[in-house]
């Protein structure tokens, strides 16, 4: 029962890689966008807000289709990336990472933004009056104070990326060894006679990884809170 087939192991490894790359690559952008949304006062802020949260409310298939149009080999961005950098996204694991990143981005940004919203602005002002330039204030005050939210956002994004299915299968299809992540593999097993056992094993793995990510994020944020309170 608990011996994984090579295909299943490939799917697990691929999923971890796709989710890790998606999370790490989108995190800097997530922090930046969260900062802009939390602190910025500019025209078009509502539009940016809307675009960021769009994947959360759109049918994932639509998001996948939009990615296909934009980043497919003949799409405007896809063609550019291939010509300029030799990066091909469609039907590759990198495309799966992009789809996962786009789908998990709203959750990540939301957690970080909430953390930044609750920072006492006077801490930042105090740092500025002590001589810290806006960049230093961001690096030495805003970022560390938002750290619990950033960790939570990254973990949430990772868990979401791990489970992404609709946009991924639409954008990069379901190719074993290349784009077949855990959810896609589970889907394939359920469509195949006698695939129940594999589907069950992979589902358990998905639950374990997601739960692990949530527990890890909770522990990390507790650790920071304890340090702040002067207990650690």
């Amino acid at each position: 029962m608990w011996s994984f087939t090579p295909e299943e192991l490939v799917a697990i490894k691929l999923s971890l890689r796709v989710a890790s790359v998606a999370t790490l690559a989108s995190l800097p952008f997530g922090i930046l966008v969260a900062y802009v949304l939390s602190r910025g006062r500019f025209r078009g802020k509502m539009l940016l807000d809307g675009v960021v949260y769009l994947p959360l409310v759109l049918p994932p298939v639509v998001t996948g289709y939009v990615l296909l149009i934009l980043f497919g080999r003949r799409g405007p961005l896809g063609a550019f990336l291939e010509d300029a950098f030799g990066i091909v996204l469609s039907f590759r694991w990198t495309g799966a990472a992009l789809a996962a990143a786009v789908m998990s981005f709203p959750l990540m940004v939301r957690a970080i933004r909430l953390a930044m919203d609750t920072i006492d602005r006077r801490s930042e002002e105090a740092a500025a009056t002590l001589g810290a330039s806006p960049m230093w204030v961001f690096l030495t005050v805003t970022l560390p104070l938002a750290m619990p939210g950033i960790v939570a956002g990254a973990m949430l994004g990772f868990a979401k990326a791990l489970g992404e299915f609709g946009a991924t299968i639409t954008f990069v299809s379901n190719i074993p060894g290349e784009t077949q992540t855990i959810p896609a593999a589970i889907y394939s097993y359920t469509q195949t006679p006698g695939g129940d056992e594999g589907a069950f094993r992979l589902s358990v793995i998905a639950i374990v990884i997601a739960l692990g990510a949530l527990v890890a994020s909770e522990l990390l944020s507790r650790h920071t809170t304890r340090r702040r309170a002067g207990l650690g």
Binding site: R122, S123, A126, T129, L130, V141, L145, R228, A229
Partner: protein, 371 residues
């Protein structure tokens, strides 16, 4: 020299304030909503005036006409917030060091150990801000501002959240900064005793405007004008020299040309000049030298002005022999019964125990007044 002349319009609030003060300690004094904190934010650069200019020691911080606006981090205005505002993720030592690294090389002469000693926070260096008491946090906050080598120290109600004992602990530090470090200080408070004790110049604000500015005894002693200012207790400032102490009674005896003043407490040095703030409600008047009375402080003088206010009370200002004026708050009935009129010779009686210890200030010689 601190010059402020700013106009700023916000929904439901208009600030239109101008004042000029020599170096030393300038107190901004007024009820909440009078614009004190807005001026603090303008000085620090956290708020920008719609129109106006601020010049400190010949350095223009903002001038809307000349399009000058020095950004917050380059102003070197040390700001001490009401509740300290220590950075919660850093230790006390890291908080103290924070501003130091940004100070220009030639201004780093502020010795860390001296500041830590002055404020008595050496034992707290490893602690996190969350574990400190209000008074400790406030002292660390003052230290942090000083170590950034500011050219102007701005303190926004630094003692508001502290109890009386903590206030007595911190006030002498601020006096030492003013006197020993020659650092210009803008001190915001609505506590008249603190202002009386620290300020060389008082700027009184009401509804976003300057209603009075000048030396403390002129501004604070002045009777309340319109209803907005009536919230301030009338207070007089009297300066005198400590001639001897009576430690067995925990009092000090001061010599004033108008008579002896008995002060509570024992933190005085013989020979120093102190300024005492006395609330008008703690002063009684006698038309002849009283006998068999417990009140020790009896000051001879002449009635200078009698001002009836609304209600039963009257402010009677007495010009003491040898300078200084003292205000007594009396009932209209007493004024009528004793026939208190301008020019009449009287004794002003002050109960020693009614004098607030926070309101007793040590003065430098040049601030001690004409005497």
């Amino acid at each position: 020299m601190i010059e402020v002349s700013c106009r700023l319009v916000r929904p439901r609030f208009v600030l239109d304030a101008s004042f000029t003060a020599p170096n030393g300690c300038v107190a901004l004094f007024g009820p909440s909503g009078s614009g004190k904190s807005t001026i603090v934010r303008l000085l620090a650069g956290l708020e920008r005036p719609d129109r106006g200019r601020i010049v400190v020691d010949g350095r223009t911080l903002v001038d809307t006409e000349a399009r000058i606006d020095v950004p917050v981090h380059k102003r070197r205005v040390g700001l001490v917030f009401q509740d300290g505002q220590l950075l919660p993720h850093l230790s006390v030592r890291q908080n103290l060091d924070y501003g130091r690294s940004f100070a220009p090389r030639d201004a780093r002469g502020v010795p860390f150990d001296a500041v830590v000693d002055l404020l008595g926070i050496g034992h707290l260096l490893k602690a996190r801000p969350a574990t400190l008491s209000g008074g400790e946090r406030q002292r660390v906050s003052i230290g942090r501002a000083l170590l950034a080598a500011p050219r102007l120290l701005v303190m926004d109600e630094p003692l508001a959240s502290l109890d009386a004992a903590r206030k007595l602990e911190i006030l002498p530090f601020i006096e030492r900064l003013r006197d020993e470090w020659d650092l210009p200080i803008v001190y915001v408070s609505h506590a008249v005793e603190e202002v009386a004790r620290l300020a060389n110049t008082v700027v009184r604000l009401s509804e976003g405007r300057v209603v009075a500015e000048g030396p403390p005894n002129e501004v604070i002693g002045a009777p309340a004008g319109d209803a907005g200012e009536a919230a301030f207790p009338a207070l007089s400032l009297v300066s005198a020299k400590v001639v001897h102490e009576r430690p067995e009674f925990s009092v000090a005896i001061l010599e004033h040309p108008a008579g002896e003043i008995v002060l509570p407490g024992s933190a005085f040095r013989v020979g120093e000049t102190v300024r005492v703030a006395i609330a008008a409600t703690n002063v009684a008047l006698a038309v002849e030298e009283p006998h068999g009375l417990s009140v020790r402080t009896r000051l001879r003088g002449r009635i200078w002005r009698v001002e009836a206010g609304p209600g039963p009370s009257v402010h009677v200002t007495v010009e003491l022999s040898g300078g200084d004026r003292i205000v007594a708050s009396l009932t209209r009935l007493a004024v009528a019964d004793l026939d208190l009129k301008e020019g009449r010779e009287v004794f002003a009686l002050v109960k020693t125990v009614a004098i607030d210890e926070t309101a007793v200030a040590t003065l430098r010689r040049d601030q001690a007044g004409p005497r």
